[in-house]
């Protein structure tokens, strides 16, 4: 089993994701330069956080045109496992691999802090080791995490159980008070219909070791490894 971490110019969580896979999960991993077309031999592709192309036009809007994105679409089309974290999520939205868009945080500020998310769907390859409704403490760090989709789209997300994580309180209460960025319905992470592509705003790679104040993000990576090894939820 092998992970690939995509590097766009301006990615800045690529090394953090690489470290978690290599040193915490102890699984093989390599960097994939955004101009490389070769995803062969990879079982999982991570689109890391950061500011690809400076996020200068709109987050993810330039990165979606990188040569690697066409190959990621093919890879995902064939059922390959793809996780986009923060900027990676934004890129997946721009590339149309996930539905919806990201708006600026409603407070108009960048926010970096630990938040809580509730696992709305634990029957995915990204959450199978979480309990139903498990509350995870994972930090966010973004300027544009205010997820939006039209009412029909939201209906569809719900019908297909595509909403995987929602912002909540430490005790699991979901309300506007515990919504850090204004995201519709407190949405923090969604999957595609096929269930093999996850976009998540919080950073699981920043909460995979006790010394960083939370190991909850580790559950997401471990679920992925579990699925890749057994192909069972």
């Amino acid at each position: 089993m092998k992970f690939g971490v995509v590097v766009f110019p301006g990615s800045n969580c690529d090394q953090d994701c690489f470290y978690v896979v290599k040193d915490v999960l102890k699984k093989p991993v390599k960097y994939v330069w955004h101009k490389d077309a070769n995803l062969s031999g990879l079982d999982c592709v991570i689109l890391p956080g950061g500011f690809s192309y400076g996020d200068y036009l709109r987050t993810g809007a330039v990165a979606r045109f990188s040569p690697v994105m066409k190959h990621i679409a093919d890879f995902a089309g064939k059922g390959g496992t793809v996780i986009g974290i923060c900027n990676g999520f934004q890129i997946l939205l721009e590339a149309g691999l996930l539905p919806g868009v990201m708006l600026r945080n409603r407070g108009l500020h960048f926010i970096c802090k630990h938040v809580y998310v509730k696992t709305d769907n634990n029957r995915t390859r990204f959450t199978s080791l979480c309990n139903a409704g498990q509350i995870l403490k994972i930090p966010i760090a973004h300027n544009e995490g205010n997820y939006y989709i039209d009412p029909a789209g939201l209906e569809e997300l719900r019908d297909n159980e595509q909403v995987v994580f929602r912002y909540c309180s430490a005790r699991g209460e979901i309300s506007d008070r515990y919504n850090p960025n204004g995201a519709l319905d407190n949405i923090a992470g969604i999957i595609n219909k096929k269930g093999n592509v996850l976009g998540i705003m919080p950073h699981p790679e920043r909460s995979s070791e006790d010394s960083l104040g939370s190991r909850d993000g580790h559950l997401i990576f471990k679920s992925m490894v579990n699925w890749l090894e057994t192909k069972r939820l």
């Binding site: 110019p9 301006g10 800045n12 969580c13 090394q15 953090d16 470290y19 978690v20 040193d23 956080g49 950061g50 500011f51 192309y53 400076g54 996020d55 200068y56 500020h109 960048f110 926010i111 970096c112 802090k113 930090p139 760090a141 300027n143 430490a170 950073h203 790679e205 920043r206 070791e209 010394s211 960083l212 104040g213």
Partner: protein, 732 residues
Amino acid sequence: MIKPDVYHSLGLSDEEYKNILRILKREPTPTELAMFSVEWSEHCGYLCSRKWLKLLPKTGKYKTLIGEDSGGIIIDDLAIVFKMESHNHPSQVEPKQGAATGVGGIIRDIFTAGARPIALLDSLRFGPLSQAYNRYLLAGVVDGIQFYGNCVGVPTVGGEIYFDESYSGNCLVNAMCIGIAKKNELSQARAFGIGNSIMYVGSSTGRDGIGGCSILASNEFKEGEEKRPTVQIGDPFTEKCLIEATLEAINTGYVVGIKDMGAAGLTCCTSEMASAGNSGMDVEIQAVPRREENMEPWEVMMSESQERMLVCVKNGKERQVREIFLKWGLNASVIGHVTDDGLVTIRDNGKVVASIKAHSLTKAPIYDMPSAKPKRLKELNKLRLGRIPKPADYNEVLLKLLRAPSIANKAWVYEQYDHMVQTNTVVLPGSDAAVIRLKGTNKAIAATTDCNSRYCFLNPYRGAEIAVAEAARNLVCSGGRPAAVTDCLNFGNPEKPESFWYFKNCVEGIRDACKSFKVAVVSGNVSFYNESPKSAINPTPAIGMIGILNDANKACSQNFKQDGDVIILLGRCGEELGASEYLKEIHHLTRGDAPKLDLKLEKAVQDTTLEAIEKGLVNSAHDCSEGGLAVALAECCISNEANMVGAVINNLNYDIREDALLFGESQSRIILSCNSRSVKEIDKIAKRNKAPYRIIGLTGGIEFRILSGKKELINLRLENLSKEWRGSLPAK
């Protein structure tokens, strides 16, 4: 014939101009005049300060590295490189870009040394938030820091913000960056080896920032001046690519030397790299990538466009180095080569427009400035405690102090900064010092910036000593052993004897305190001319200090962890109210003397704390600073919003005035909390180190109470304290 008003407008004096004529034995060309004016500006040449900076210790308990643009220490096989630098005047003029480019510049100083930047800190000073322009500055500076730091992927883990009237009209923005490298992989800012190539990499050159260092940084602000065109514009995306490309290029072994084009741009890089390498350099400026048309040679040499560097590359390896920069979408052009004539020769289409000995550009004149103690100080230092009325309600005083912007919680600021990227921040912002683990080792670095400028205003020597002592104390509270210092010395106009007296005394204070802690000053920066039409700023020698934790898992934070812990106070409470936040906020007085500092006592308290933390005996540690014991204890109770822990304090030394006991700022005090089982052991450690030690109370409950016998001095609910402390920033 060059007229005096021409060189005067470039900031050169008659004497300096005569000097240039003597060196060149002819009249300078316009390009040469421009080059001298920037290299001999106070900002680049340190004309007034150099004599005094030599006093600062360059060696300490760790092996030091003193580079051209930064410095550091060696720990095992790692080099830890760090430096703090000011970007005050640009930030006052255009806060977002001023602060952003300050961050960008200090990061470049670190990675051009071959070190990967791992942390940023910012020491900020503004005027009171009651004034709209100061609120604009605070919001703009914070926006600039987040805009740049977040994008480049270097966590902003700490720093400090203070507000004082003296900064109205001249805010301070001091940015510090820390980087790490394998000790044998460092690079130098030098050019040598005849025939080696000089390569320009990074962004193209425009007219932005021309004269930034000579005009903006080396003059005081006057009424109604428009200086916006002299501020540079930052591009953090390019910087991020530049970091990766530069570290990759250095790794090839083909880079002889490399330097950031910061202040004074190409002039500074060509002359200083040649001078440091004892070489010459022949450069064709038509080869410099440009973003504007029809630029004059002197404009190209003076431009402070950001995200550019000059690289000396081994002859024959230009293609390999160029390819790395091209891969990251950056310019990389050979613009010249190293010579052995010691001359910086600048050509424009082959025609020589400047030819100057590199050494003469970099050896700016040294001035011995006159100094004089301000006459009003004698009167200001007097404080008759008998005339200070005692407050009727200490609860009200405490709440007011917690609301004071200098003391209030700064989460509104640091939550706008990505302080977790790189996944090394094990003690997050908001504690005494941030702690950053070093992956691949068990070790961690603690980092802090400190300076109480009111102390320095009333007593510069001791104020500077206290800045060093407090920085060390903050590191110790996080479990770090103080290791080395960078300083950013912010003062008024050095040509005014009173300003210069402050500078001299502060440097002496830093020297003596650093010697006492056996820490070297490995890098630093001087910023003079921090004056507004009204007055000079308070002298502000900001101290950036790093400490080492041998075991990252032993990192300690300031908040009480659980009910039933014993609260211990190390150190002594004196009847000292001079220069305190309490006098300023409650009695509207900036008077008296800075608190006393006994470096022996300081060391005893710090050694006790370190030993107790390293032995795992302590659950929290917090130093007493602005607002004194009551504020420090309140912070211990409420600083973790998710788990606030109350306290009852009932065993203080009640011999002194109650307001001095609660809010006085006696130095060398640390509050510990520990399990009752650990008390005996900590007592022993304190006795062995001869540190004054006292059990003052217990944690627990939903209130913070301080009792004197049966009398309740303080009794406040935690949520009430928290609301005041957290609700003050942002200023509406």
